[in-house]
């Protein structure tokens, strides 16, 4: 493969990374905002949170992207395609993330909240100081899964002129006609990216587990090595 073709793949890889990281960061904000809103006693906040979740889980990122880039300009809104890509992916993954946040919050034992009430914390202090720090430990593994899904989901961005890794792969495939090698390379590249992301999430999991004074759950290698006998 020529250096230029390789450069396409590399650029696609970077674009995919940019999209994934950008959408993950923004999606995290949406997740927490909507997830916490759905646990609020305020019916309006709850409603807004629920609507966001249901709407954006239901509409696929691809349709959102199309609207953002090809329909919004008619309403006088200019979105840079990259920014549109990040926003659409973030809105979509954020809706899934919000369910994770809600699940994490609900899983914190009621007893912890009661203890916080007994110490007269305000509602927001309860959330900030007691519930969230414990809930985050539970949110991390599903967040890790979402991150991998996001990584793979970025490949829809090609329809709005964002040349991501999959699209770069298609370019190389068209240029060389060599489908098998291109798809093998894509498999390997995505797997490497996924392993990197998973490792980072696992490291964070360990830190959080330590900050709760728990033994961290064994990682993949530990699980493979130390097969427990019943």
């Amino acid at each position: 493969m020529s250096p230029q073709l390789f450069a396409y793949l590399l650029e696609g890889l970077l674009t995919t990374l940019q999209l994934t990281i950008g959408a993950a960061a923004l999606g995290l904000v949406f997740s927490f905002a909507a997830g916490i809103a759905t646990c609020s006693p305020n019916i309006v906040l709850r409603g807004v949170g629920r609507c966001y979740i249901e709407l954006f889980r239901g509409i696929s990122a691809l349709v959102l992207l199309f609207w953002f880039v090809f329909a919004l300009p008619y309403a006088g809104w200019q979105l840079d395609p990259m920014w549109a890509g990040v926003l659409a992916l973030a809105l979509n993954i954020g809706a899934y993330g919000a369910e994770v946040v809600r699940g994490g919050i609900v899983a914190v034992p009621v007893a912890q909240i009661e203890a916080a009430i007994a110490l007269n914390f305000t509602r927001s202090q309860r959330m900030r100081l007691v519930v969230l720090p414990q809930a985050i430990a539970r949110m991390l593994p599903p967040f890790g899964n979402l991150l991998i899904e996001l990584l793979k989901g970025t490949s829809v961005a090609y329809i709005v002129l964002i040349p991501d890794l999959t699209f770069a792969g298609q370019i190389v495939r068209n240029a060389t006609g060599d489908s098998a090698s291109v798809f093998t390379a894509l498999l390997i590249l995505y797997a490497i990216l996924a392993v990197i992301f998973t490792t980072i999430v696992r490291l964070i999991e360990r830190r959080v587990a330590k900050s709760l004074g728990r033994a961290p759950t064994p990682g993949f290698f530990a699980r493979v090595k130390g097969v427990k006998s019943a």
Binding site: A116, A118, L119, N120, F121, L129
Partner: protein, 271 residues
């Protein structure tokens, strides 16, 4: 005989009425747990609730701690109603701010400790004083260290709760509650999750608290010797009503009520 205990015994024998339950009722579905309950405690009084399982002891403590609302009736703490505000001479339901203000005088220690697992011991004790009482970090830590020393855990300030035994956790929980300098301390079977030797340590700490402070204590316990040592008054509950109320010596040595006798029998028997 199954008449309620006499009015006199139901009311505080110390100075006035600091906590006052007036016709408090609570039901869960069809299950009427408390029915028009009235009772009062004086400031600094220490009262023990005893009674069979499901008689509503925990419910009373949880209502005082505002973890659970009564269906009807009022609860007064000091001059304020806990769930009501007086507005234009009428009692109306209180807002969050009012409840928080009244609740500040009360705190509770739970059967299962409920320490915050995400904070080390010291922060468990300082967190509320800093964020609720507005103490500086230094003041709060000084106060916490004093209390942790009192409960014999000043060497564990950097441990996480999961690294402590149950008895140690419960002692931290007591220190955490005391750090709020509450007027009222609620204790719900604080030793029943512990084995006897560890329980002994916790009960010793609470004896100290009773002796050295004048905090108002309302506790549910099956540790009869402890109840005898620290309480001014023991209330026997049965089916959501107080069927007997007396100082501990009277209650344990010459219970008047048949149900009380059989209850005390079974508790004392099995050890």
């Amino acid at each position: 005989m199954s008449q309620p205990a006499t009015e006199a015994a139901l009311t505080s024998r110390k100075d006035g009425q600091f906590i006052h339950f007036d016709k408090v009722s609570k039901r869960f579905g069809d299950n009427v747990v408390l029915n028009d309950l009235c009772f009062a405690m004086g400031a600094g009084e220490r009262v023990t609730l005893i009674g069979p399982s499901g008689s509503g002891k925990t419910t009373i403590l949880r209502m005082l701690m505002t973890l659970m609302k009564p269906d009807t009736g009022t609860i007064r703490v000091g001059e304020d109603y806990l769930y009501h505000e007086e507005r234009g001479g009428k009692l109306v339901e209180a807002g969050e701010a009012h409840i928080r203000k009244v609740r500040q005088r009360i705190t509770m220690v739970f059967q299962s400790f409920n320490l915050f697992p995400n904070m080390r011991v010291l922060r468990n004790v300082t967190e509320a004083p800093v964020h609720v009482l507005g103490l500086s970090k230094e003041e709060a830590e000084e106060r916490a260290l004093g209390l942790l020393e009192m409960v014999g855990l000043d060497h564990k300030i950097d441990a996480y709760p999961s690294q402590l035994s149950g008895g140690q956790q419960q002692r931290v929980a007591i220190a955490r509650a005391l750090a709020m300098q509450p007027d009222v301390l609620l204790l719900d079977e604080v030793t029943s999750a512990l084995d006897p030797e560890l329980a002994a340590g916790v009960l010793d700490v609470l004896r100290d608290v009773a002796k050295t402070t004048d905090v108002t204590m309302l506790c549910v316990t099956h540790a009869m010797k402890f109840a005898r040592d620290i309480s001014h008054r023991v209330l026997m509950f049965c089916e959501g009503r107080i069927i007997e109320a007396a100082p501990p010596e009277e209650m344990f040595d010459s219970p008047t009520h048949e149900r009380t006798r059989s209850f005390l029998q079974s508790v004392l028997d099995e050890t």
